[in-house]
Amino acid sequence: MNIELRIPDPDGFYAALLAAHEGRSEAQSADLNARLVLLLANQCADQAVLLACISAAAEEEHSTSPHPA
């Protein structure tokens, strides 16, 4: 899993992502994110990297949770 920046225009990417979510309900945003995850996963095409990304994403949620259980 790459942890150094590889996105050529990070701010531009982030702005495009926000723009895609504009005007959507929470449920519609969740649907969009899910479709995006699947599309990006297929671009990545590396099983080990995909599993590492899933782990990293899941860890982040636990470590930043405002309500530690």
Partner: protein, 551 residues
């Protein structure tokens, strides 16, 4: 106006007479080498496989007919490997004549087709990828074949009430309409199914779990020309957005399976008028239909940690149960039986070591574990457990309509395959099925791998263009081993030969002059030798059969 829904006349299934066994009159405890309990698909396949190999067995069953509760719904899809086994056992032609051959599947979401597959593309076998047939027909054909072979002591109406391991075997108590008796077995095979009382009686943990997903089966006959393909809906508009399965079986009977709400009233949803209204919604007005069978079901799974416990072997549902998606239940039981049959035959003859019987567990337990994993993933796709799972599935289905990559994620069941076996002492590089390839003998006569394997119980050694000297030495080195050595191509080697065949070479993963492939009696590839010597061939056979290395 409410419709009236008719039921077809019930199937008339065969029954066989209970014949009081000699033990009842004599009171003597007779010892039998092999006792199989349970005449379902796996127990019958094992009895038939053994009989085909000339091995006697006692087969006990508590019923006196085929099917369960009459012609009720059970397994319907028989996979290529199972069909190849049935070909070897001599009942494939009957199955093919009665059943529905298919290889194409389509998956729909709403009105849209989102995924399809053609299993024929990967096949080089004489047998088709699948035949659909009501399970009781398979059992019926097996019983008739077993009776024809005449080596199995089939005892109907014989319920095993107690099993007790003893020093060198197993003691069983059997209850019959004419009284109880006790027998002993050198080896006992439990094929009594998911609720095995033998397994429970021996205190063996099955690690069961139960799904909350609910389905209702409707077996129904109607006149509406539909393709003989496997159709599945992830979310059918005519079933309130839930899953539907549609498959044709013999006698023009369709198996239509409707996913129901988890909290449904199972008695209500399977009432004829309720099931009929669902079917009317699907078929549209004006299509006449009659029911053959309606029934609700929830699925469950279990998996034994070990399939061999000393002298007791567990096969089929007694050993493993998986959810029904992909037809991996019945097929797996049939393949358990074919895995065990030749091993029992060779060990009984002293032509293989007892450790070969351990390989039954080493091969079929991982196969069942794999089937459990595969079917559990399908089940989870079909019954999402949280809002997030619903969101992800919605994304898969939405993308699948537009982009090919996402179609592979649509999971309405991954069809049963002949599982690969892991590397083990008898399989140094693991095992892989060899399909029933059409072949030609050197003189041009047609044959198949199954025909070659149907004679006696021997491994087949396919040796590509061996030299005469090596061939002579190999015949000497393997004379005492159950091996049929065949040359593929080449001349002057003096071995029985098959014509050179690129498809065979590609399929078995050899073909260079001097290369060698060892095929087991269950049509699994046990070994590939890039450059075979007579000693290496003998060693390969001894390894595959758990025999000590040559002195």
């Amino acid at each position: 106006m409410e419709e009236n829904f008719a039921f077809a006349p019930a199937y008339e299934l065969p029954s066989w007479p209970f014949v009081p066994p000699p033990e009842l009159a004599s009171g003597q405890v007779v010892r039998h080498p092999l006792v199989i309990v349970g005449a379902g698909p796996s127990g019958l396949t094992l009895a038939c496989d053994l009989a085909q190999r000339g091995v006697r067995a006692v087969l006990l069953d508590e019923d006196d007919t085929v099917g369960v509760r009459g012609a009720s719904s059970r397994g319907i899809c028989y996979a290529q490997k199972s069909l190849e086994i049935f070909e070897r056992l001599g009942i494939f032609e009957r199955i093919a004549a009665k059943g529905i051959t298919w290889s194409f599947g389509r998956t729909f979401s709403g009105e849209e087709e989102v995924y399809n597959f053609n299993l024929q593309a990967a096949s080089v076998s004489r047998q088709p990828p699948f035949i659909n047939l009501q399970q009781f027909y398979i059992e019926w054909f097996l019983v008739e074949r077993i009776l024809e072979l005449g080596l199995t002591d089939v005892r109907w109406k014989s319920r095993v009430t107690r099993v007790e391991p003893i020093a060198d075997g197993v003691r069983l108590e059997v209850e019959t309409p004419a009284g109880r008796y006790t027998i002993e077995a050198d080896r006992l095979i439990d094929a009594t199914g998911a609720n095995s009382a033998i397994r429970t009686g021996l205190g063996i943990e099955a690690h069961a779990s139960r799904s909350t997903d609910r389905w209702c089966i409707s077996d129904v006959r109607f006149r509406k020309p539909l393709p003989t393909e496997r159709w599945t809906w992830v979310d059918a508009p005519f079933n309130e957005g839930r899953g539907v399965w549609q498959h044709l079986m013999a006698d023009g009977v369709w198996r239509i399976d409707y996913q129901m709400p988890e909290d449904c009233d199972t008695a209500y949803i399977s009432r004829p008028e309720v099931a009929g209204a669902r079917l009317r919604e699907q078929l549209g007005p004006g299509v006449e239909f009659e029911f053959v069978w309606i029934g609700p079901y929830g699925y469950r799974d279990h998996l034994l940690e070990r399939f061999r416990h000393g002298r007791v072997f567990f096969i089929g549902d007694a050993a493993h149960v998986v959810s029904p998606f992909g037809a991996r239940g019945g097929n797996s039981g049939i393949q358990d039986a074919a895995n065990l049959g030749w091993k029992l035959a060779l060990v009984a003859r002293g032509q293989a070591g007892d450790a070969l019987l351990d390989s039954y567990d080493a091969e079929r337990q991982p196969a069942a574990r794999e089937n459990l994993q595969v079917t559990s993933r399908s089940a989870r796709f079909l019954a999402p457990r949280s809002p997030a799972e619903h969101t992800l599935r919605r994304a898969v289905v939405a993308l699948a309509a537009r982009f090919p990559f996402a179609r592979a994620l649509v999971n309405t069941g991954r069809m049963s395959v002949a599982n690969d076996y892991p590397a083990a002492p008898q399989l140094p590089s693991g095992g892989r099925t060899v399909q029933n390839l059409p072949l030609r003998e050197a003189d041009g006569r047609e044959t198949t791998l199954m025909q070659l394997l149907a004679e006696d119980t021997r491994c087949i050694g396919l040796w590509f263009a061996p030299t005469a000297e090596a061939a002579r030495a190999a015949l000497d080195a393997t004379a005492a081993l159950p091996l049929r050595l065949l040359a593929v191509g080449g001349t002057g080697h003096g071995l029985p030969a098959l014509q050179p065949d690129e498809r065979l070479a590609a399929h078995v993963g050899a073909g260079e002059p001097g290369s060698f492939v060892l095929v087991r009696p269950d049509a699994y590839r046990a070994r590939v030798l890039a450059q075979a010597t007579p000693e290496a061939i003998a060693e390969a056979v001894r390894t595959a059969l758990a025999l000590d290395p040559a002195p």
